[in-house]
Amino acid sequence: MLDVLTGFVGELRQAGLPVSLTESLDAAEALHHVPLEDREALKYALGATLVKSSAHWKAFETAFEVYFSMRGPQFEIDDGVATDQALEPDRQQGAGAPSGGGGGEPLSDEELAEMLYRALLAANDAQVAALARQAVSRYAGMEPGRPVGGTYYLYRTLRNLDLDRLLDRMLAAVRSDAPEGHLTALEERLARDELSERLDRLRKEIEDEIRRRLVADRGTEALARSLRKPLPEDIDFMHATRDELTALRRAIHPLTRKLAVRLARKRRHGRKGPLDFRSTMRHSLSTGGVPVDPKFRYPRPARPEIFVIADVSGSVAAFARFTLHLVYAISSQFSKVRSFVFIDGIDEVTRFFEGVDDVGEAVHRINTEADVVWVDGHSDYGHALGVFWERWGEEITSRTSVLLLGDARNNYHASQAWVLSEIRHRARHVYWLNPEPHSYWGSGDSIVGEYAVYCDEVFECRNLRQLEQFVSELA
């Protein structure tokens, strides 16, 4: 057991979780107090001692599944033909299960689909799990030693099960069960959510099964390595999948709140201003005119004005969205925030954020309503900057910080870098945030180097962690 634990802790560290020595000692101690055969209890014991942040729970879960999936009688791998015991009784009475001969024969595809449908509708978890196992062994076509990832098998299995149609069928069944033959919109919505969740559980069941088989095939460590996923704050903006983007969107709200609290605190505490003579004298009255307790003025640091100029062309749109979201969420820390978006044309979008309490909504409106295309809808930094200078250049003052967001991939147009040099003369700071990894800068049509000479600094900003750090230093 100790070996497994050390391996497991090692894996967690590899995945980026900070697990200290004392924590792994705690985990070892905790193992004394939980029944080892109870997988859930084991999981919670390890989770409570090793994982100290909810953002890391998912990574922990994946690693746990890989390391401890093989250790339990109910998770033994059965191969295709042998039908699970759990299925037997239902099969006898199942619609059109004519085999009759003691269950030695394999189910047909239709029977399997039918049974899955019934099990899901009745929310029979044990049976759904058993059927998921069946489906994997039937459709995934797993062969030992084949060098493909779990997602490939998952895709194959799900394609054969056709979950969308299953959902529609179940909805239809629920609908016809309703007393008046149809559901109200609310009931419809509830039923749909309920069934979708059951399907999600089925999907997870299938994933687990595939993972178990992969572990059996390749060994724990190799698989753990290939399943390692980045933590939410490390997800790369430019290559995030749709699911990851959803996770990011969910992560950004608590993050902005955290950031706002921290910044407000920073403003109130810390530095002390010069002696406040009036206040000191006033308070000295209570000690008979002896100034025992000197009072200081609160520093009132100037709130910077922010101009955000963001490239919202396809490749970097997600990055621009998150940055705008973050900047506006803490806009109380700035005296004024104005934002401009461009592809090859440029448009001011400050108005979308005015009087809106849902920043996400405003960001969404930018995508649909801003006038950012000039000729062909390919990024043209030169033209956008030129127009910006012409129309809004005058409004930059010595209190303004200018943020430029983009990868500076200019499709070989003219860079018009002189605009930046002019902006820099007027503005307090000019920063460039680039969502590309540092090593790609200046390759191909990226001309970030040309602009960089006129910026105070250029930052690599590939994930939430880096973005958060930059924004907190800005305020």
Binding site: P18, S20, T22, E23, L25, D26, E29, A30, H32, H33, V34, E40, A41, Y44, A45, G47, A48, T49, V51, K52, S53, S54, W57, D164, L167, T184, A185, L186, E188, R189, L190, R192, D193, E194, S196, E197, R249, H253, P254, R257, K258, V261, R262, R265, H269, D357, D358, G360, E361
Partner: protein, 325 residues
Amino acid sequence: MSDVSEAQPPGPLGFPDPGPARFSSVPEVRERLAATGYLADEGIAGVVHLADRLAKPVLVEGPAGTGKTELAKAVARATSSRLIRLQCYEGLDESKALYEWNYKKQLLRIQAQRVVEQDGDGAAPRDLEPSSWHDLEDDIFSEEFLLARPLLEAIRATDPVVLLVDEVDRVELETEALLLEVLSEYQVSIPELGTVRAERVPLVFLTSNNTRELSEALKRRCLYLHLDYPTLEREREIVKTRVPAISDELADQVARIVRSLRTMELKKYPSVSETLDWARTLVVLGVESIDAEQAKSTLHVLLKYRSDLERAAKELSAEEPSKGR
């Protein structure tokens, strides 16, 4: 730190001795918590059990209104212990969290001493002699003049106690350090007095709303429990336990609607306490089963942002949900 050397002998496993067990098994934890009206799931019960066995504090984190503080209270009730609560806030310091010298009483004591000496030989007040000064110092820095604040009180208690450090994320990073000695050694060092050690290790719960990252040092000393929104089944049970007047059908509907709301993209999701408020509202209004209209007109109990309300109302009455699977 006067007598760290004579620290208690480590237990058989190199850990401080947790004392007699409060719970014998995980199912028992669940049962006894349920008896006090708190429905724990497997994870919660498991962590409480471990906290008891390992003599470690539990750091409970999670969205607001998921029953973090309630858990500590329920454990106190279940173990029939006294609940000592330290509410954290910005600017909390040693004298509010640990202990303070009752200096007014100390002053009185010194003055009383002078009066005694005056009466003794009838002379004018004079400076104290070195030896009596020493006695006096020993005297005024004794337990009698100590004002125990929650942390010290929990350590000194001879009856069973549960210590709740509420919203620990509100104190500054530096103040967290105050907690460390108490949490890992269950002792408080008072320079003038020596070290006060717990006779019986209390169960400690810290709650955090996650408005900032807690320090590694603090996290390392704790077991971590993330309290998330409950599953459909558990929420339904919670509603039924806490709002006994509700019908089974209505409880089920309430839980299902709240679950649907939590799948939408809202600024703030309805918490368990808000679910309960909603259930009570519906019972008071005499609603038997909810339709879309009633749901819409009472949603403000659940949702606290205008944009959230609008979105939820729109999605709940839309024929086809706008977000695809």
